[in-house]
């Protein structure tokens, strides 16, 4: 019963917000979609839409203090791939994660069934959404390599790491501290990296793309898709993040949302400097999206 009331509130809220900000994002047809060149002329020439952003204050944990007011969105497509350039003001570049460090992130969300539109906040049961999520720490992984213990603490020392005694026995000047997370995870050492052992997508040490494709049917249900066919790339300059997210317009992956007919798109932004994480995020509710042919 509570869930039904919640969904009803979400629907009303969604409708009200949409009435207040009637935006239709039109993805313009171009020759090709630049995947990583944020300042490419094709992106510069595309129409810019300003989407209002709100602090998530519907479910715990909530975002107490918002730090982003709006998101600039551009979209282009080449008939095969659709891309979104997302731009927002952020005076700090946060691309590290640690006990007390959080990274900047942005995500787009698409409904699996636009005709029976799910709740804009991560969908609802049987109202699945498709989410493509860019993370600053993953961008750092791809650009600068995985941030290992030695990178964080250059002067640290470890006598041994279990199951990797020979790898770090001093031969050729290589000690335990020099064993990379990637190498460690490939041997029996993976037993001592529980999340990696469990196949957790957070624990990938040779990442190729800073994006994660997920699906969700409500809070706490975010699940990584088996097939990852989206791309992302982020650049921080002049106190601004510019992130390109792309995916195929027609995808063979049954978990990807359809895009050929008019649909909706929603957004979420996390500001790592203010410890934004999980539900502590900024969001934009459903906005109309048309992929022009």
């Amino acid at each position: 019963m509570k869930k039904k009331i919640f969904i009803a509130i979400m629907m009303v809220l969604s409708a009200n917000l949409m009435n207040a900000q009637p935006i239709t994002i039109k993805s313009e047809k171009v020759a090709s979609v630049p995947l990583r060149e944020i300042n490419n002329a094709l992106w510069t020439a595309a129409t810019e839409y300003i989407v209002p952003i709100f602090p998530q204050n519907i479910a715990n944990p909530m975002l107490a203090i918002p730090s982003v007011k709006n998101l600039k969105v551009k979209s282009i497509n080449d008939g095969t791939t659709v891309g979104f350039l997302l731009e927002w003001t952020d005076s700090t570049k946060d691309i590290i994660v640690d006990a007390d460090k959080f990274c900047d992130q942005v995500a787009i969300q698409l409904p699996m069934h636009p005709d029976t539109l799910p709740v804009f906040m991560m969908g609802n049961k049987k109202g699945r959404v498709h989410i493509i999520h860019w993370k600053g720490i993953w961008q750092n992984d791809v650009e600068n390599g995985f941030r290992d213990v030695k990178d964080a603490y250059p002067n640290y020392w470890a006598d041994i790491y279990p199951m990797a005694e020979k790898q770090g026995d001093g031969t050729n000047g290589k000690f335990a501290k020099d064993i990379s997370a990637s190498d460690y995870s490939k041997g029996q050492g993976n037993n001592f990296m529980p999340a990696s052992y469990a196949g957790n997508p957070m624990s990938i040490f040779d990442r190729k793309e800073p994006s994660e494709e997920c699906m969700a049917e409500g809070y706490g249900t975010l699940t990584t898709q088996t097939t990852q066919n989206a791309t992302a790339w982020g650049v921080w300059e002049n106190n601004t993040w510019k992130v390109i997210i792309t995916r195929p317009i027609v995808s063979p992956d049954k978990d990807d949302a359809p895009l050929t007919a008019p649909t909706k798109i929603a957004f979420a932004i996390w500001n790592g400097h203010f410890e934004n994480i999980s539900g502590k995020k900024h969001y934009a509710q459903w906005t109309d999206l048309i992929i022009q042919k």
Partner: protein, 376 residues
Amino acid sequence: MATVKNWQLKKDMKYPYEENRPNKQIAYIFDTNKCIACQTCTVACKTTWTSGKGEETMFFNNVETKPYGGYPLKWDLNTLKMMGEQSWDKVTGAYKGKTIFDDTKGENVNGWRPAERDYAFPNMGEDECSSNVNKGAFFSGIHDTWMFYLARICNHCTFPGCAAACPRKAIYKRPEDGIVLIDESRCRGYKECVKACPYKKTFFNMVTRTSEKCIGCYPLIEQGEQPRCVQTCIGKIRLQGFLSKPGEAKADNPIDQIVHIKKIALPLYPQYGTEPNVYYIPPIHVPTDFLHQMFGPGVDKAVAAYKNLKNDPDLLAAFLLFGNTPKITHHYKREGDFTVSYNEAGEVLAKVPMTEPVYVRPYDDKDHGTFRHNTP
């Protein structure tokens, strides 16, 4: 928020989920009077579970010196400061203050998150006394300077703060034994549990980018054995077993006998509201004001009962089980001059003499034609 009954606070309190006690609840008793901070438990745990990459500063088990020690730094002080006044009703013994599930301000738990450096000093304050000992006080008998060692692990709380805070419900409490676990395949490293746990016993792994915590050595528990930290304790300060639900205490369960019946072992900072399941026998030489804050209002009676232990053979029999079998004692019985430990199937695990036999060696060793004597 649901309303749950917290027997340690003697009152109902708010919790995000309905009360759902496990079939069995893992529980530990730590006797602070016997701990010498040798850190054997710490090393046993570290070697077994947290010696991989990203776990360098992670101690599921640590032993710190009170009053000044703490790992991570100020783990208890910061929470106590946030909670405001924490008083107990002098008549009913019920807690009158707020728990970590009150005043949560848009979150499920009122918590704080340690900084990276807070994990860098696990031996901060080690062996430091509460104050200087006045000149000559060493020789004049009892002085008022004190310290004690506090061994800490995950409390496998009945109402875990970590589980309450996880937005993904990736933390769960096992119905078969009450052990609280993180699902390492679902955790996404939000660190909400790190912030929420008032005992700071969930940790963020910077390499795997997920949170990790004490698993109660469940592979051992499933085989009827006590956890590593308990088995290896050379001071025999620890006993692990299962605590019955409130009102269902069994006199032949040593944990029930010590916690529920004789009330000699007390929860650590019960005012947090999580109903922790590691029970401490308070240090008998420490000022009671400090102990009241740390273990609640039952301290005075617990200390008195501990001092009277030699006159309470049933309680003494339970105490003699500490460190005398690697297996989990489900029942015990005082039989003549022995206390006998039984497993769940009723098989004998250990038989411990109530009085340690004393053997006096003759000064004259006739076999070797020499005299035995102590050599300085």
